[in-house]
């Protein structure tokens, strides 16, 4: 049993840290120490969980899927937490980024800010993210989303100046409406399927007749739910809150929002649409432009269009921004577009059953693995870049391109970190970004989508354009007065550099990472295993995947 309790370990560590930082908030040093220790303990807990999941520990005889039933109430009556390869992958990414962003915050956020509320909020946000990755209950997912959002609202308005309050107002109102929609969709799904447990829902949808379910509303309700996840992931047409919010938030928070919180939306799309809704019994969609009888036949084209629009809009808008943060914010819209088109290829692969060469086996697995590796790349590179932008602000006092220039000569350490992270974003081997882009192209080729290849190429070119511009205006060229008078903050530079080195290290030792990504993709598609591990009888056909 001890193994199964490990599932809640990351959650508990983050929660206890958040509460302890509140308890010691009068003593700034103690608070920093508790916060840092908590960050390290979180990484430790996640590492232990990943090690267990990867070594094949499992529940109910399913290898690699650990479940924890709250208060030992069996599914579907209690709330179930599940740690499988997919959750483990996302948690691993979260752990790395959160620890470094935390180290950066301790050096970056001013003393008064840290004393007020920074550390508890940061850890509560981490609690929400962790819970979202682990839960197997859609209402519970809503609750974790709210925990995460509530902290992020306050972190976005943290400096509470004119610009920050305005950005936060937009962010809050938008997400409140989003939450209402999520509640509506969840209520509808509950009344249609009679369950909130994801595994149970997948089981019931696969065999609607014996549970008395009408499938038609499920598609509409899942589409409403999709809007909420798209909003969280910041994909077109729900992208417009992104730049203002990222610019308003303190740099380490922007790093977390772009690197990790966005990925919660991506994770939810993978978990719900590939694991749960994809297994619904064939239904007559009869929608224009939709070929196939699976829900993914509908969501595939939707994902493709939204991803394509994100790549183009984010990339084009990023090219002529006036400051580093705006450029990075628009760039993250474009980069998430890459993740989303990889998901679209995977959806197409599930519907059409396209084959791909080993070790992937199918385009479905390849597309999901591409999306996951790209998420990892974006989390590491974009977090490093946002931290670099914060370090520039702290050293130079501005992140407007007109005040910058010649940072490379003045602060070589920071520039090296920025350069490596930027190259990873562009996709230069042997950085992790290269493999991310490569897998997306590979998925496009195997899906036979020329349009997809063209889009990915266009996105890559746009990435090169805005990254080059940022480098040229900020780091090369003549030293501006502000840069000349800068006071370098070496502690901050070190964290940027560490993240950049991680991006390099992951690229160099890529084999275990791609293996983990492929296993995660398989875990997302093996609905039968998911259902069995939760302790429910699998009513899917015995071919394992249920496709």
């Amino acid at each position: 049993m001890a193994t199964e309790q490990l599932v809640v370990a990351p959650l508990l560590v983050a929660l206890v840290t958040a509460i302890l930082t509140l308890v010691v908030h009068r003593y700034v040093r103690a608070q920093k120490a508790v916060s840092a220790l908590g960050g390290v303990a979180y990484v430790g807990a996640v590492a232990m969980l990943i090690q267990r999941v990867r070594s094949g520990a499992g529940s109910h005889g399913v290898e690699g899927v650990l479940t924890y039933q709250l208060s030992n109430w069996g599914a579907p009556f209690g709330i179930t937490l599940v740690a499988d390869d997919l959750s483990a992958f996302m948690l691993g990414l979260t752990a790395v980024v959160s620890l470094l962003a935390l180290a950066f915050s301790i050096l970056y956020v001013d003393e008064a800010g840290q004393r007020v509320s920074y550390h508890p909020l940061y850890h509560f946000m981490l609690v929400g993210v962790t819970g979202s990755f682990l839960t197997a209950d859609i209402f519970n997912l809503f609750v974790w989303f709210e925990v995460m959002l509530m902290s992020s609202y306050v972190l976005v308005v943290f400096y509470s100046g004119p610009r920050h309050t305005k950005a936060a107002l937009q962010y809050v109102v938008l997400n409140l409406v989003g939450s209402a929609f999520m509640l509506l969709a969840i209520g509808g799904l509950y009344s249609t399927t009679g369950t909130l447990n994801m595994a149970d829902m997948a089981r019931r949808l696969a065999d609607p007749a014996s549970f008395g379910i009408t499938l038609a509303p499920v598609l509409g309700l899942s589409a409403v739910l999709f809007v909420v996840f798209a909003l969280k992931a910041g994909i077109v047409p729900f992208q417009w809150w992104v730049p203002a919010a990222y610019r308003a938030a303190p740099a380490p928070v922007s790093a977390m929002l772009a690197g990790v919180v966005k990925k919660v939306g991506i994770y939810a799309i993978i978990r719900l649409y590939f694991t749960v809704f994809a297994n619904a019994a064939p239904m007559d969609l009869a929608l224009p432009g939709v070929v196939g009888e699976s829900t993914l036949a509908f969501f595939g084209p939707v994902l493709f269009i939204m991803g394509a629009a994100s790549i183009i809009l984010g990339g084009v808008a990023a090219v002529n921004r006036d400051n580093v943060d705006d450029l990075l914010a628009y760039s993250s819209i474009g980069q998430v577009g890459f993740i989303v088109i990889a998901l679209a290829f995977a959806a197409g692969g599930v519907v059409a059953g396209w084959q791909a060469p080993e070790p992937y086996g199918s385009v479905a697995v390849l597309g999901l693995a591409a999306a996951l590796v790209y998420s990892l790349n974006h989390a590491l590179a974009k977090a490093a870049l946002f931290l670099a932008s914060g370090a520039v602000y702290e050293s130079v006092g501005s992140i407007e391109f007109e005040d910058l220039g010649g940072i490379a000569g003045r602060m070589p350490l920071l520039s090296a970190g920025f350069f490596v992270a930027a190259l990873s974003l562009v996709g230069i081997p042997p950085l992790v970004g290269f493999f991310g882009k490569f897998l997306v192209f590979d998925a496009a080729v195997n899906a036979g989508s020329n349009l997809g290849i063209g889009l990915a190429l266009l996105g890559a070119i746009l990435t090169i354009a805005y990254v080059t511009r940022a480098w040229n205006r900020g780091f090369w060229g003549e030293r501006s007065e502000a840069v000349e008078q800068a006071t370098p903050q070496y502690g901050l530079f070190a964290t940027v550099l560490v993240l950049a080195v991680v991006a390099l290290g992951v690229g160099v030792a890529f084999d275990p990472v791609v293996e983990a990504a492929i296993d995660a993709a398989n875990a997302a598609l093996e609905t039968g295993d998911y259902i069995e591990a939760v302790g429910l009888e699998d009513s899917l056909t015995s071919d394992g995947g249920g496709h």
Binding site: Y153, V157, P162, T165, V172, L176, S179, Y190
Partner: protein, 116 residues
Amino acid sequence: MTEFVLALVLGLLFALGTFLVLRRDVVRVVWGVSIISQAANVYLVTMGLLDGSVPVLEGHGEGAGAVTDPLVQALVLTAIVIGFGTTAFALVLTYRVYEEHGTIDLLELGGETDGN
């Protein structure tokens, strides 16, 4: 009949909420958002069969009819608490916006140039 009335009420609540969210005044927007989320709560409650009996079975469950689903009510309680917190935060934020900008008119807010 109850279902018809509730459907009508829900529709009206969503319409009212949407109308308020589209106003220029930030306070009205916050009202609108909280009306929408309350409407979502009412919708959730209606998902749990309104005219059933209490989910506690009498007399060893003999002759028990349809019971009202208690789960949705638990969900709504959770959602109400979350909604309470977020509404309070949104109102405080509105006040901060007023302090920082001297206005809560969205058109005037939007017209301001972004400065530090």
